[in-house]
Symmetry: C2
Subunit: 333 residues, 2 copies
């Protein structure tokens, strides 16, 4: 294992220090328990958005804290759910009096811990809504998950709901918008290589030369099948087909197309995939009117990609376009 | 070799199609010869900025085409200089009547080809200035280079000079600012792994488990020494020491600190490095007032990092902060 770290134990805390050192105008780090909050928060009379999950998926979630997106993020150890006390303290710190929306990826540990945190926040008299993201069409149940896993739609949901919260929507309305984004978003990914969790010290799984994992999860969970590497166009079609056959759409609908890198895949390759994915969407009568290309929800240094497609409506487009200023996503500010 | 491509031959052209498909509001792709230009260009009465180099370093340079940064970029084959006719056609297409600045990284092929392109453009009556970036303190001469190599300062120079060109500065003044940025910028990198050029099909070099290349070039050129992997803090100090001892500065000076990923290194690790690099800069009396953290000048999927430090002056700060809207760097717009 070769990594630019000091020790597996200190990795997350040191990275949080680094984020605060680099982006102190945007985020503030708290330790024991660990979380990031907006430097200018809590924002009075705005619904607060809180997300979190295991570390190793950066820039998600910490890189999305700032105006127009998250109010707080809780990083667990690498690929390990944060604890309820992290979520509880972050929720209290982020709350500006209009309640807290918890955006939770569908993994058993995360769901359970966010549920406990929700109870703790409610016991303090804070309004809380929770939305579980379960957009991964690859598999029904998986390691650490009952039902579909939560992946790329999380990034999109955090942006759109962040815009809605800035616009003054109520907790119930932001939560309903988030549920609608989840209902209209679908994702699937594939891996060319594994990744190594620092405190484990060896690759999560083995992929022989010439083979890929189709439908891989963001922690290296098994997907649909182990298969031979094919051309980028063939693989893109294999990711798009299950997404398109599952997403509720009709010809002429507008979509956001998000081609994501899992960490170790060059941007050059992501654009080759985007080109084909957009072509396939168009061939189905979909209008790709918004997009995102880059490594935003990663699995450490894993080589691979995931595609997320979201069927858009008027509000989703408006809040996607709304200004955002976070370490990892920024426009209009 | 496992890559998400269709064929090594079509990789660059397909990626250009993908960039145009994703960012058609910002960039327009031309083929035979291949280059990207601003979708709203040529911009009348603004100095045009043109850069380019081998592909495989994305988002540099194509990802930096847009308002406030480059007017055009020429991608060569992977790790191969673009040709003079690409540069010539791109320069003509980008010129808005106020001349063209060529920003050239110091590699023998690039320098020679940009020189030829400069002659061709001048023969057409276009004003041209060239600035060679040679900021890499790792080695004096190297594979493909006489003198120092051009690396991370290129990204910073493109942003700062882009801001200056938008502000209406003359060709001579933008070129002089670019020379000053180069004179005040220093970089050094290290690799944990090699990378594989698609049309070669095997890794550029071999790095055994537990070893790193200190001072590596962005094409995998040898650096200062092959050595055992150390802690992130020790390695960061080894990158910062040659930068700080070479850069002209005095205590109290303001700097921009850029921690760059070479492609396969997770953002989590880059923040660990940023934290230590900022601490070292501060210990030398430097004030880190601007920064950039992420993978902006890469070597395909190489794991590793480079650090760039630029001593700032008033104009550099102003033009760094100026609005920019490109596929890879965006703020204020």
């Amino acid at each position: 294992m070769k990594k630019l770290i000091n020790s597996p134990e200190n990795l997350v805390v040191e990275a949080l220090h680094g984020m605060e050192a680099a982006h102190g105008d945007l985020v503030k780090a708290h330790f024991e328990p660990n979380y990031l909050v907006r430097a200018d928060g809590p924002v009075k009379n705005k619904v607060a958005l809180l997300s979190g999950g295991g570390s190793g998926h950066e820039p998600m979630h910490g890189g999305f804290v700032g105006k127009g997106m998250l109010d707080a993020a809780c990083p667990g150890a690498v690929f390990t759910s944060p604890t309820p006390d992290q979520m509880y303290e972050a929720g209290k710190a982020a709350n500006g009096g209009k309640g807290v929306l918890l955006i939770v990826k569908n993994y058993t540990g995360d769901v359970m811990n966010f549920e406990l945190a929700s109870d703790l926040l409610k016991a303090d008299g804070i309004d809380v809504e929770s939305v579980i993201i379960d957009d991964d069409v690859a598999v029904k149940d998986s390691t650490w998950t009952a039902g579909r896993r939560g992946v790329g739609t999380t990034v999109i949901a955090e942006k759109i709901c962040g815009g809605a919260a800035e616009d003054g929507l109520s907790l119930k309305d932001v939560a309903n918008l988030c549920r609608k984004v989840n209902a209209q978003g679908r994702s699937m990914g594939l891996a060319l290589t594994s990744c190594t969790v620092p405190h484990v010290g060896k690759p999560t799984f083995e992929l022989p030369e010439g083979e890929i994992e189709m439908g891989v999860g963001i922690h290296g969970e098994p997907g649909r099948t182990r298969m031979k590497l094919k051309s980028a166009d063939e693989l893109t079609a294999m990711l798009m087909e299950p997404i398109i056959s599952d997403i509720p759409y009709k010809s002429g609908d507008e979509v956001l197309l998000f081609v994501n890198g899992l960490g170790g895949t060059p941007l050059l390759e992501l654009y080759v995939i985007y080109r084909k994915a957009a072509e396939i969407a168009q061939a189905h009568g979909l209008k790709v009117v918004r997009n995102l290309v880059g490594s935003y929800i990663t699995s450490l240094e894993m080589a691979g990609t995931s595609i997320t497609m979201l069927k858009l409506d008027h509000d989703m487009k408006k809040y996607w376009d709304a200004p955002v200023k976070t370490p990892a996503l920024r426009w209009g500010l």
